[in-house]
Symmetry: C2
Subunit: 138 residues, 2 copies
C-alpha cells in the first residue's frame, strides 16, 4: 500500500440543501455543516465517509470557476483530493515526467499546502494534491 | 461516524495505459492489474488508495453504456461505490423517501449484491450501493 490517502471527493451541486438531505437522511452519512467562503464565492459542506469525505460545493455567484463548471457540465464531480507526504517531491516528479500542473508553485491555506494537476494529465479529472503543514514549523 | 464505507471511485478513461501510467508511476499508487470483462465490453483496473480504490474503466466496444458515457461526457467520473451493511434496508429507505433507484431489485455478482441510485436523486452522480454476501449463507 502506498502512503497516499484519499482526503475527499468533491462534487459541485446546484441545490446544496437537497444534496445534503440525500447524503445525510437518505444514505446516513454524518457531518455536513455548511461553511460559506465568500472570497471563493462558494458554500461548502464536508460529509464523513469512513476514512475519507465527500465535499459538496455550491457556487454563490455566477462568474466563479465553480459556477462556470456547473453551467457547462451540470452537477457532478468537481475534483479528487489526495493527501501526499511530500508535496514538493511529488510535484517535481510529475513535472519531470511531463505531466501538466495547474499551479506552478503550491498554494497555501490554513494547515495545508496544495496544488492541482490538470485533467489532461490524469485521464480526465481535476486532481488536488495536498500536504499537511506541521504547525510548529510554520 | 456511520458504518458506510467508500469502496471505490470509478472513472471512465479513453486511454487505459496512459491513465495507469499516471496513477502508478506519476502518483505512486499500487495495484492496477487489468481485467477484461467481455460481457460488459470493458477493461477495468483497480488501484489501491488507502482504505479505498480508484477504478479505471475503458470501454472495448462503441455501443455499451460506458462507451456512450465516454462519447457524450468525455473521460471523468463514472460512479461512486459505497459499501453498506444492509442493502435491502437502505434501498427500502431510499425508495420510501422518494429517491430514484435504477435497479428495482439488487443485482448479484461474485460475493456482492448491488444496486444503483440515479444521478437525479444524488445531486448529479451515479451512485452504486453494495453489500458483501456472506459466502457461507449463499
Amino acid at each position: 500500500m502506498s502512503d497516499i490517502q484519499l482526503n475527499h471527493v468533491a462534487f459541485v451541486v446546484d441545490d446544496l440543501d437537497a444534496a445534503l438531505r440525500f447524503w445525510r437522511e437518505g444514505i446516513g452519512l454524518t457531518g455536513g455543516a455548511v461553511q460559506s467562503l465568500p472570497a471563493e464565492a462558494v458554500d461548502i459542506a464536508f460529509l464523513e465517509l469512513g476514512a475519507t469525505h465527500i465535499e459538496l460545493i455550491k457556487p454563490t455567484s455566477s462568474d466563479s470557476g465553480v459556477a462556470k463548471h456547473l453551467a457547462k457540465r451540470g452537477p457532478g464531480l468537481h475534483h479528487l483530493c489526495l493527501e501526499v507526504p511530500d508535496l514538493d517531491a511529488k510535484l517535481g516528479e510529475l513535472r519531470a515526467a511531463g505531466y501538466e500542473l495547474i499551479n506552478d508553485e503550491p498554494r497555501k491555506r490554513e494547515g495545508q499546502r496544495y496544488a492541482f494537476v490538470h485533467p489532461r494529465s490524469t485521464g480526465g479529472i481535476l486532481l488536488e494534491l495536498y500536504e499537511r503543514i506541521d504547525k510548529s514549523r510554520e
